[in-house]
Each structure stands twice: as structure tokens, then as C-alpha cells.
């Protein structure tokens, strides 16, 4: 089984829309915070729109579905992709670049006493301190240690690394939006049969609560793979195919398994449409699962991955530096 990537060689981007619906009933719970509520806004046609899942959150979800947390490893078809794992002093797994919020830029990797990865990055990206950033070189380094971050996008916000200018935008971005929404308000009481008037701050007592669900005739997940950006990395056809295949696989797996976004937001796919390029056929999950291991192997043979593929960093809190307030607004998410 093979996938014909040739039709994608000239296409600038791949746009996919998945028409979703609640798995049971008509209500769903959108993203939101207790004191902010849901993100509802107007569309230009006057219909009320609702953000069901933001681009940042979707990026994380697209990675979570690739990770086998029990085995603490990639799921089978993605095994042997490079990544950086963080272990604690006892050598127990702590986190890794697939799940860590800022990927390779995680403080557990770059801010600890173990500076091995930081030094390595500094060495490999040494000549970028002045002049424009060489995107291709940066991409090659990211591919080597944390291939997935090429799709996720990365921002190495450390002044010692080319003055904090090393960044790659997202290649795979996605969000979910619902159209023409209506509020479904409900509520209830947490009952305390022993002492209904107990101290609620300590978890006793009856606590009335309200909740806002929504209904919508149309919920759409939008996916965008920037193929021109993948080609712009200049890493050769095998890498291009691997990254495209990986992106497609993430989407497939998310739509198959990752649509339980919250307790009360379990969605299923009604229809999947490839909007651009329309002539291409979205490969099935089984096809991608067959092809991906061989693509990984092919790229490995080109010596583009770090060996061993898993780079291990030991996390031990580094000495507190006297530092200026860090520009938090620049953090990626």
C-alpha cells in the first residue's frame, strides 16, 4: 500500500473540513473558563458563532493522540520518531517534547542543571547569532531532535540561541467552531446529606451550580496543512512525505479517537471534506499506518535523525538567576 503524494507537490496548502455532531443528544460543552464563559461572537452574516476548540488547544490534542502514555512512547505507527524525554533525578519519566507545552523550548529541557540539549542546540545553531535566521538549518536541527515540533511550530525564546529569534510557524493548525448556536442552560445541586449547610469552601454543604451547554446545527473542525512551508524547510522529498503523512495521520487519529474534548463534549464526524486541493483523496488511517513506519525508516537512512532517537535530559532545578521579568506575553501558548 502506498500513498500518492505527487499531487501535493505543487499545492500550497491542504485544507480539510470535518462536519461534526454531538455523539449523544444535541448539546455540547465548549471551551471556556468558569469566570469567563464560552467564547461566543457574531459572524458577518449575523449568526452567533462559538469557539469550541482553539488553535492552541487543537495543536496539543493533535499530539496527545499520537502518544501512548502507558508505554510512555509514541503509538506504534510513529515509533522511532525522534523526541526529547525529561526524567527526574531518579530516572523516572517526567515529561517529553510531544506533550510539553512549548515542545523543545520547554523549561524542563532548557532551564535545568542538565544543559546537554541547550548546549547541543547552541552548538548546532551557533552561526545564527547575527544576520537572518537560516530557516532550513533550524528546520534540520528540529527534525533531528524533535521532528514533531516542525508541524507544531516552535519558538526557542532564549536570548543565547540566536537572540531569541529562532522560530518556526505552525505547519498544521486547526480549530473547531460552531455556527448559529443557542444556549442550553441547566444547573443542579451538589448535595450534602450529612450537613447541607456545611462550609462549602471546605467541600461540605449543598452547592448549587449552573452550567451552560450549547446546541448548534453546524459544528466544523477546520484543519490546515501548510505544504509550501514543509517544502520550504528544504529537507528533501522523504522528509516532506513524512511530515505530510504525519500531519494527515494526526488529523485522522484525532477525528477517530480524540473527539471527546470534554466530559460533556463528545463529538463524532458526520462528513469529512478535503476543500483544497479538491482532486486529492484523503488517505485512510490504515493506509497511513502502513506507510508511516517506512517513511520514518527512509528518513532515518538519510541520517537526518539523532541517534539514539530519544534524547534524555535529567531535570534538576537550576540555580535561580537574578533575572528581569520575563516577557511572558511572548510565550507560545
Amino acid at each position: 500500500m502506498s500513498i500518492d503524494f505527487s499531487a501535493l507537490q505543487t499545492a500550497p496548502r491542504l485544507l480539510i473540513e470535518a462536519d461534526l455532531q454531538p455523539l449523544q443528544g444535541a448539546r455540547f460543552q465548549p471551551t471556556g473558563f468558569p469566570d469567563l464563559g464560552a467564547a461566543v461572537y457574531d459572524g458577518p452574516n449575523g449568526k452567533r458563532l462559538l469557539l469550541v476548540e482553539s488553535a492552541q488547544s487543537m495543536a496539543n490534542r493533535l499530539e496527545t493522540v499520537c502518544w501512548n502514555s502507558v508505554a510512555d512512547d509514541w503509538i506504534d505507527p510513529l515509533k522511532n520518531l525522534p523526541l526529547v524525554k525529561v526524567v527526574d533525578k531518579q530516572g523516572k519519566p517526567l515529561t517529553n517534547t510531544v506533550l510539553e507545552a512549548h515542545r523543545l523550548n520547554s523549561p524542563y529541557i532548557l532551564e535545568g542543571k542538565d544543559t546537554s540539549v541547550f548546549d547541543m542546540l547552541k552548538k548546532e545553531l551557533a552561526d545564527m547569532d547575527e544576520g537572518p535566521v537560516d530557516i532550513r538549518k533550524l528546520a534540520a536541527v528540529v527534525l533531528k531532535y524533535d521532528s514533531n515540533a516542525l508541524l507544531h511550530g516552535i519558538f526557542l525564546a532564549k536570548s543565547q540561541l540566536a537572540g531569541g529569534r529562532l522560530r518556526l510557524p505552525r505547519v498544521l493548525s486547526a480549530f473547531i467552531e460552531a455556527e448559529d448556536v443557542n444556549l442550553a442552560q441547566s444547573g443542579g445541586v451538589k448535595n450534602d446529606h450529612v450537613n447541607p449547610s456545611g462550609d462549602t469552601a471546605k467541600g461540605f454543604g449543598n452547592v448549587p451550580y449552573s452550567r451552560d451547554d450549547y446546541t448548534a446545527p453546524k459544528i466544523t473542525a477546520y484543519f490546515n496543512i501548510d505544504l509550501a512551508q514543509i517544502r520550504g524547510f528544504g529537507l528533501g522529498q522523504s522528509v516532506e512525505q513524512l511530515l505530510t503523512g504525519l500531519a494527515l495521520y494526526k488529523i485522522r487519529r484525532f477525528l477517530d479517537e480524540g473527539l471527546r474534548l470534554r466530559t460533556a463534549c463528545d463529538l463524532e464526524v458526520r462528513q469529512l471534506t478535503l476543500t483544497r486541493p479538491q482532486s486529492w483523496r484523503f488517505p485512510e488511517r490504515a493506509e497511513l499506518e502502513t506507510v508511516l513506519p517506512s517513511l520514518i525508516e527512509k528518513v532515518a537512512q538519510e541520517n537526518r535523525f539523532a541517534e539514539p532517537r530519544v534524547t534524555v535530559v535529567r531535570w534538576e532545578k537550576g540555580a535561580e538567576k537574578k533575572k528581569k521579568a520575563e516577557d511572558s506575553a511572548e510565550a507560545e501558548e
Partner: protein, 502 residues
């Protein structure tokens, strides 16, 4: 002339204007020339083969784009935002994420009215546009292309605000947009600035970041990192100029204009009004009342649609010869005392939207002396749903005159009133008449009316009226007939009106 089309497949455009904090939740709308040029520059860096398209060519292209301020055709956009907490290590900060919500099918047009690119520049521009994945933030996916011929109207241009001299109304909304300085403009600004800088005594530590953000090369200046510019203390990029544009008022609205929900319009051919006024017109003046009612409807039609667009089925004018009785009936609907307490307008061919609007807006009628009666719309709909409540609209086989019947043809020996009634019924497609009988008078509560008691003439001059006396009848059809049943001369205005005989 160069025209670009920008559409946003994700339906969103995120861009924070220069000098504004992200939490001010402002959106730089429309996408300015500075942002477009920088996006193209970034695409060249990231995605384009520099062997095929060298840097010099890019510089020529961007400098051409910078030579003129673009004009825009803006689509409807709504200023929206989401809020979330950013999980930063020390504390969670509340972030506003503002964007313009745009219809994914709509396009924003950007036009350089006097710019002509050569073939090389055009080819590079097309490649850059094709590879452009987003404009502004990474979430604002964009699809950009060059349009060879577009001749729509632009609605956002550089310039001072204009005012309608007659009404004093402001015609545009001012907005400041950044555009790149031309190469010469930048060179002049840089020379002047550096001269000023040399005159000041600054420490090298302070001087260096400023100088490094004023590179000699224009393209390098265009591509400077925003963080570096901010670190050097620039409140605006040195290679950019601020231009005042006028965009359409409310082109970035805080919320979508409230629109009436699409109303389901049911079929309608009849409307009934209650008539208020003292005293109420009497049934003896039925034909007068019918004429007043028509006149009021015509006046309303003229007001709403203009003199030349009055629906033919309402006016009864300009209809084909075969269409004698499909146009409007203006019918008085009397109570038991013979007062016209209700009025009915019935068009057998049903109301079109315009007619419906006219009749819905009809609130009063006047007689020639200026006396007014208020009309209150009771119901508008299909004739059959008035059913049992309105006798004139019932289905019945036996009918009796409410107002006198005036035969429409001249009487002849073998063509008397009976024969004329039968012929009229035949021509109208009504069932066969089993039986008909002339009666002398109709009785109301406390009064009996003979034909002579009624007003029996139309105001319109030049009408042929073979019958001036009138007669009253009882009719029995072989099958039930649906009201309104009106026959003879002036039947569209209340003469020759029948009601079911209970």
C-alpha cells in the same frame, strides 16, 4: 494597475495594530501595506527557492508595492474576540484574542491603482501569493491571488475624511494604516535621523540598538524583527509611514447588524379589518365605502411602491381581457344593524409580497368630506380559514342579497334579470343555479331596506350602467359556493353582494 484578492478560509483575521497592546483587543483592519509586504518577505525567506527568485528581484517587487498606497474593497467583518487564561509558569494571565470574523467565501480586494509590474515581478508575486499561508497571526489563514481583471468598486482609500456638504454626514471612518516608505523615502529619513543621532551624546550601549534598527538596505529595514524594533524604543517601524485612510463606517462592527429573522410568509388571498369611527358607515353606502377602501389602498401603494409600480391585481388596471374578476374585491362587511363594522379585501389570485405589505400598512380610510375611519387589521390569510366566523366568506348553497344587484347588461325580451344572473354565474364558473327568486326587501334589526334605499352609483364617470334601480335576490346553487359572492354592476365595490341564508 495591480489587484489582489485575499480570502480567509478559516473565517478569521488576527492582527494587532502597531503601538497597541494585544489585550487592547484591537484589530488592524484592513490588512495594511506594511503587513502585506512583510508577509511576502517572510514567505520568500521560508518557502521560496532563492536561486530561482533572487533577493534583488524580491527587492524590486516590494519596492514597487511600496511606491504607492493600496486601495481596498472591504467585505463585511465583525470585530470579535475570545478570552482565555495563558498558562504561564508564574501566574495565569487573562488574554484577549481579538480578530475580525469574515465570511470565508468573501474576498478583500487590495488594489494599487497605478502600479504596473513587469513579467518577472509578476511571476514572483504569484509564487509568493500562492505560498502565503497566513496573514497576521498564524490562525488567520489566507488565500491570496492576483486578479487579472476586477472592476468592482473600492470603498477604502487613503485620504482625509469627507463630509456630505448637504447633510453634514461624515462619509467614512478614519483609520491609520502603515505602509512601507519608498526606498528613497527611507534613505532620506535614515540620513536625517542618523544626523540627529550623531549630534546627541549617547552611550554606545544606547546608540547601538538604534543604529542596528536603521540598516542601510531598505529590504533589511523592512524585514526587521518587531521585538528588536520595540527593544530599540521605536514606537513605529522606521521604514514605515502612517497613512490616514477612510474606510466605510462600521466596516469593522462590534457585532453583526441585527437582522429580522426570516418570516415565514403563508399564502394569503384575503384580509379583514375592523372599522372604527363614529358613526360607522351604513350598508346603504356600501359602494361608496368600497370606493373609499380602494382609494386608501391605492394611496398606500403609491406611498410604498411609487405611482408606477402599483400591483395590477390590486388596482384592477392593466389586466388582460380574460381577467375580469381575479383582481381585488373591496367589500363592506356589515353587522346585524347594518353598520359597516368590518371591511374585507379579497384577491382570488392571492396577494403578492408588495400587495401584502400595502394591505398590512393600511390603517385608515377617508370619505370625500374628510371624515376618517380607522382600520385595524384583524387577520390576513387564506379565505377558507376565516371560515365560520365571517358569513360573507363561508361556503353555502343558498345565498341572499345584502346589497342590490344591478344587472350588468341591457335587458332584452329574452334576456331578463334572471337570465343575466344565470349567465354571470356560468361565466364565473359557479355551479348551476337550481332556483332563484326576487325579494322586495332585506331586513336588518329594526329596519327593512329596499333597493332604492341604497346608493347604487359608482363615482367613476363614463361607466355604462344598464340598471339604475337594482333588485334583491335569493339564490340556490346545486353545490355549495365559496364567498365572497358578488355579482352585477359594481360587484368589486360592494354592490350585488350576497350572504349565506341561514
Amino acid at each position: 494597475m495591480l489587484t489582489l484578492s485575499l480570502s480567509f478560509p478559516g473565517g478569521r483575521y488576527h492582527a494587532t495594530p502597531w503601538g497597541r497592546h494585544v489585550n487592547e483587543a484591537d484589530v488592524a483592519w484592513p490588512p495594511d501595506g506594511w503587513r502585506i509586504c512583510r508577509a511576502l518577505l517572510a514567505v520568500w525567506h521560508r518557502k521560496i527557492d532563492p536561486q530561482r527568485y533572487p533577493k534583488e528581484l524580491l527587492e524590486r517587487l516590494l519596492s514597487a508595492l511600496a511606491s504607492e498606497a493600496p486601495h481596498y474593497r472591504l467585505t463585511a467583518a465583525v470585530h470579535a474576540h475570545t478570552r482565555h487564561y495563558m498558562p504561564v509558569r508564574q501566574k495565569s494571565t487573562l488574554i484577549f484574542d481579538a480578530f475580525a470574523r469574515i465570511d470565508a467565501d468573501q474576498e478583500v480586494i487590495v488594489r494599487w491603482p497605478n502600479l504596473e509590474l513587469d513579467d518577472e515581478q509578476t511571476e514572483l508575486l504569484d509564487s509568493l501569493l500562492e505560498a502565503l499561508g497566513y496573514l497576521g497571526r498564524a490562525e488567520s489563514w489566507v488565500e491570496a491571488k492576483r486578479l487579472a481583471d476586477w472592476n468592482g468598486e473600492l470603498n477604502c482609500r487613503p485620504g482625509e475624511s469627507s463630509v456630505d456638504t448637504e447633510t453634514g454626514e461624515i462619509l467614512g471612518e478614519p483609520v491609520l494604516l502603515y505602509c512601507p516608505l519608498s526606498q528613497d523615502g527611507y534613505a532620506a529619513f535614515r540620513a536625517h535621523f542618523l544626523q540627529g543621532l550623531a549630534a546627541r551624546t549617547l552611550k554606545a550601549k544606547e546608540r547601538k540598538p538604534i543604529e542596528s534598527t536603521l540598516p542601510e538596505n531598505w529590504l533589511d529595514a523592512l524585514g526587521l524583527d518587531t521585538a528588536d524594533l520595540q527593544a530599540a524604543g521605536w514606537s513605529a517601524p522606521p521604514a514605515a509611514q502612517k497613512l490616514l485612510y477612510q474606510r466605510p463606517i462600521e466596516s469593522l462592527r462590534p457585532n453583526a447588524a441585527s437582522r429580522p429573522r426570516a418570516r415565514q410568509i403563508l399564502f394569503a388571498d384575503t384580509v379583514r379589518y375592523a372599522v372604527y369611527g363614529k358613526p360607522l358607515p351604513r350598508i346603504e353606502d356600501a359602494v361608496r365605502f368600497g370606493e373609499w377602501l380602494r382609494r386608501a389602498a391605492m394611496g398606500q401603494a403609491k406611498h410604498l411602491l411609487g405611482e408606477n409600480s402599483i400591483p395590477a391585481l390590486l388596482s384592477g388596471h392593466g389586466l388582460s381581457a380574460g381577467n375580469c374578476h381575479q383582481h381585488a374585491f373591496f367589500i363592506p362587511d356589515p353587522n346585524r344593524e347594518g353598520q359597516i363594522a368590518h371591511a374585507i379585501v379579497h384577491i382570488p389570485g392571492s396577494f403578492d409580497a408588495d400587495t401584502r405589505r400595502i394591505l398590512e400598512n393600511l390603517t385608515k380610510i377617508k370619505n370625500r368630506d374628510g371624515q376618517e375611519w380607522r382600520l385595524l387589521l384583524e387577520h390576513i390569510g387564506e379565505r377558507s380559514i376565516f371560515g365560520e366566523q365571517v358569513p360573507l366568506l363561508k361556503d353555502a348553497a343558498v345565498w341572499q342579497s345584502v346589497t342590490p344587484y344591478l344587472h350588468p347588461w341591457h335587458r332584452k325580451k329574452s334576456f331578463g334579470i334572471e337570465a343575466q344572473i344565470r349567465r354571470e354565474c356560468r361565466e364565473r364558473g359557479l355551479p348551476e343555479l337550481d332556483w332563484l327568486q326576487s325579494i322586495d326587501e332585506v331586513s336588518l334589526e329594526g329596519r327593512c331596506l329596499r333597493p332604492i334605499d341604497f346608493h347604487r352609483f359608482r363615482r367613476k364617470r363614463g361607466l355604462v350602467q344598464p340598471d339604475t334601480h337594482g333588485s334583491l335576490w335569493q339564490l340556490r346553487f346545486s353545490k355549495p359556493v365559496s364567498g365572497v359572492l358578488a355579482l352585477g354592476f359594481g360587484n368589486h365595490f360592494g354592490l350585488g353582494l350576497f350572504e349565506p341564508l341561514e
